[in-house]
């Protein structure tokens, strides 16, 4: 997180991690589509080859929160392919929260595991404790055949401590929920670390309501 006290500006970095072709970029594209242009900037894709992310995608969201603070949320994706580990580690630097995008298909179970272990490794390399770092998991591609069942995921989710979301990123389903879930965890963590309410006058509940509203799922929409 970056705080610019003079400019009353706060920047939060969230990273979308996951195996190759699990739909990280698709998540960002859906957010870009769903969130109003006033909040979302242009989706920046760095160097793609054959529709695969080589470096990262960046979607900037920015808005003025209730307490007059300019909030900037930077959403990044990492390149999923195994060979780009150096880039993944770089993108993960300074990440305030991570959304792990898993592929629901049975045959991708192994790839999910490998990517997850790789993420834990890279979190450690970046000086984070994977046990306590804000993390949510999204099971994407719920519309495909031969996927892990809802019951299976729900049972497994109860064993883990991180929130689990289900999504069809191509249709935009579950995408905003995932982002909000991650934002909530991240904010709780930042609040406890930096006492933002005390120092900055940002009240957590108010702030999260602002975020919800900005992402188009404000109270009116619920």
């Amino acid at each position: 997180m970056q705080l610019d006290f003079k400019a009353r500006e706060l920047t939060v970095k969230l990273v979308y991690y996951g195996p190759a072709l699990s739909g990280k970029t698709t998540n960002l594209q859906a957010i870009h589509r769903l969130v109003s242009p006033a909040t979302s900037g242009r989706l920046m894709t760095l160097e793609t080859r054959d529709d695969r992310t080589l470096f990262f995608d960046l979607l900037p969201l920015s808005f003025k929160a209730g307490s007059g603070i300019q909030v900037r949320i930077k959403l990044f994706t990492v390149p999923g392919q195994v060979i780009h580990n150096a880039t993944r580690r770089l993108v993960l630097q300074g990440a305030d929260g991570v959304a792990f995008i898993a592929d629901s298909q049975h045959r991708e179970t192994k790839a999910n595991q490998v990517a997850f272990l790789n993420m834990r490794e890279n979190l450690k390399e970046n000086g984070f404790n994977p046990q306590s770092h804000p993390l949510v998991i999204q099971f994407n591609k719920r519309d495909l055949q031969d996927i892990r069942t809802d019951e299976e995921i729900d049972t497994l989710a109860k064993r883990g401590k991180e929130p689990v979301f289900k999504a069809v990123a191509t249709r935009g389903t579950g995408v905003i929920e995932t982002l909000l879930g991650l934002m909530e965890l991240t904010w709780a963590r930042l609040e406890s670390e930096h006492q933002l309410q005390k120092k900055f006058g940002i009240e957590p509940e108010r702030f999260l309501l602002d975020v919800r509203e900005r992402l188009g799922v404000g109270e009116a929409a619920e």
């Binding site: 970056q2 500006e9 900037p60 300019q70 909030v71 900037r72 150096a86 880039t87 770089l90 993108v91």
Partner: protein
């Protein structure tokens, strides 16, 4: 509160740069071009100022009315006030319209990127088309101002409707947004390229360091092995000498006469003892060679004499196995500088091997001829090199079983035998060739091998001539 950072961190903690300064990502030339074409298209003056107040592009023309007004003391002062007020206006999120006493106005447009104000445009002055009358503030600014003159000079002041002005400004924001986006992306791409390369380099450097450590450790172990070999060989040799000595004494009847069976047994003990001694001596030689402890005492050596010496020693063995043993000495073989004992050992080992692996009725051919020292690799640019060094080439050729190509690179390793089972059949510990290689190296020579399975093997030893 004072403990919070007050300065904007230009480089984010993740190393992925944010746009903090307009001038970092936008090319001034390109910006100037955009402003020029904007001016050509709309006839409006435009300035681009970064958040830090730096003027990045300036495309303006002094209007006739401005020149006129500036000719009066009151007009000049009023104009200066307006200009500095416009310059200091920093819009928050929305466009600010700043009026001029002439009735014209300026539009000050913020440039916002990723929720951050990075600069602003100043467009104007222009006259709102809605305004028909000459502003009283203009006529009152100085007593010398003439209303008719003003009306005339107002002609070249651009007149723009407010909603049009707003649309023009929106268009301008769009173009700048795109410029910023492209600039930022290019900037990030190059940053990432460099960072990725650096990260990969760091990873490789770490791995190299690990390998180096492992390599150093293996080298230590290897040294330990050589020391061990040397010590053990030495310790083995002492009691063995006694065993051989006492066997000799028994054989010679110093302890009384032996019957034929006892003679036979003692002779076997003696023979096998000598075998063992030879093996231990080779081991000792090898470990000395590996430690670099073996010293070569160079003196003049006659290659022909060396060959004849070997012939004398080996001919009986060849005869016993019914192998034809040919020795050829070519004309004009130069003399050598080397250790005669060691060179003898080289040729002895090679010839012994050749005889060992050649079946009955085969041929072992030993020859020496003048040659030049072969250099490593190809002979590209050979013409530029010094004249080739004169050398002596020994060849030991046999008609034995030969070796497959894949094995040839390993045969000089200690304890290596192409076919493990041949140790039992032919004896030997696989030390001969590794000793040969090390001795030839110690003489700055080369040893090469050519072989074909089923038809035989040739060893070529080339040593520099004296």
């Amino acid at each position: 509160m004072a403990t919070l950072p007050s300065e904007l961190d230009v480089v984010a903690s993740d190393g992925i740069k944010d746009v903090a300064k307009l001038e970092d990502v936008v090319d001034r030339e390109a910006l100037m071009e955009v402003c020029r074409s904007f001016f050509d298209l709309f006839g409006l003056s435009i300035r681009v100022v970064s958040a830090s107040g730096t003027l990045l592009a300036d495309m303006h023309e002094q209007r006739s009315i401005c020149r006129y007004v500036n000719g009066f003391l009151g007009g000049k002062a009023a104009c200066r006030n307006i200009v500095s007020a416009v310059r200091e206006t920093v819009p928050d999120e929305e466009t600010v319209v700043h009026p001029c006493f002439t009735g014209a106005q300026y539009r000050i447009v913020p440039i916002v990127y990723h929720g951050r104000r990075v600069g602003r445009f100043v467009v104007g002055p222009y006259m709102p088309a809605e305004q028909q009358e000459i502003a009283p503030t203009l006529l009152n600014v100085d007593p010398g101002i003439n209303a008719e003159e003003v009306a005339q000079r107002m002609a070249d002041m651009p007149k723009v409707r407010e909603d049009t002005a707003q649309r023009i400004v929106t268009h301008l924001r769009g173009i700048t947004g795109l410029l910023l986006f492209s600039g930022h992306r290019a900037h990030l791409t190059s940053e990432m390229h460099i960072a990725s390369v650096r990260e990969s380099y760091r990873e490789l450097a770490e791995k190299t360091a690990k390998l180096q450590t492992a390599y150093d450790r293996l080298k230590d172990l290897d040294r330990l092995k050589s020391n061990f070999l040397a010590t053990v060989s030495h310790e083995l040799r002492t009691p063995l000498t006694s065993v051989i000595g006492y066997a000799e004494m028994l054989e010679s009847g110093m302890a009384g006469d032996l019957n034929s069976e006892q003679q036979e047994f003692v002779r076997t003990i003696h023979e096998k003892g000598e075998h063992l001694l030879a093996l231990i001596t080779s081991l000792l030689d090898l470990s000395k060679l590996e430690q670099g402890a073996l010293t070569v005492k160079p003196e003049s050596v006659d290659p022909a004499a060396l060959l004849s010496d070997i012939e004398k020693t080996m001919r009986p063995h060849a005869h016993k196995k019914n192998i034809r043993f040919d020795v050829d000495v070519a004309e004009g073989v130069p003399g050598l500088q080397g250790d005669p004992m060691r060179l003898r050992q080289v040729l002895f080992n090679l010839t012994e091997n050749a005889l060992k692996f050649t079946p009955e009725g085969g041929i072992v051919h030993l020859s020496v001829e003048p040659s030049v020292l072969e250099s490593e690799g190809d002979m590209l640019g050979a013409v530029l090199m010094a004249a080739p060094e004169q050398a002596v080439k020994f060849t030991v050729r046999d008609t034995g079983m030969g070796m497959p190509k894949s094995e040839l690179s390993k045969i000089f390793d200690a304890f290596y035998q192409v076919d493990g089972s041949s140790t039992r059949e032919h004896g030997g510990a696989g030390l001969g060739l590794s000793i040969v290689k090390r001795l030839v190296d110690a003489h700055d020579g080369t040893v090469r091998v050519e072989s074909e399975v089923g038809s035989g093997t040739s060893f070529m030893v080339t040593l520099p001539a004296s």
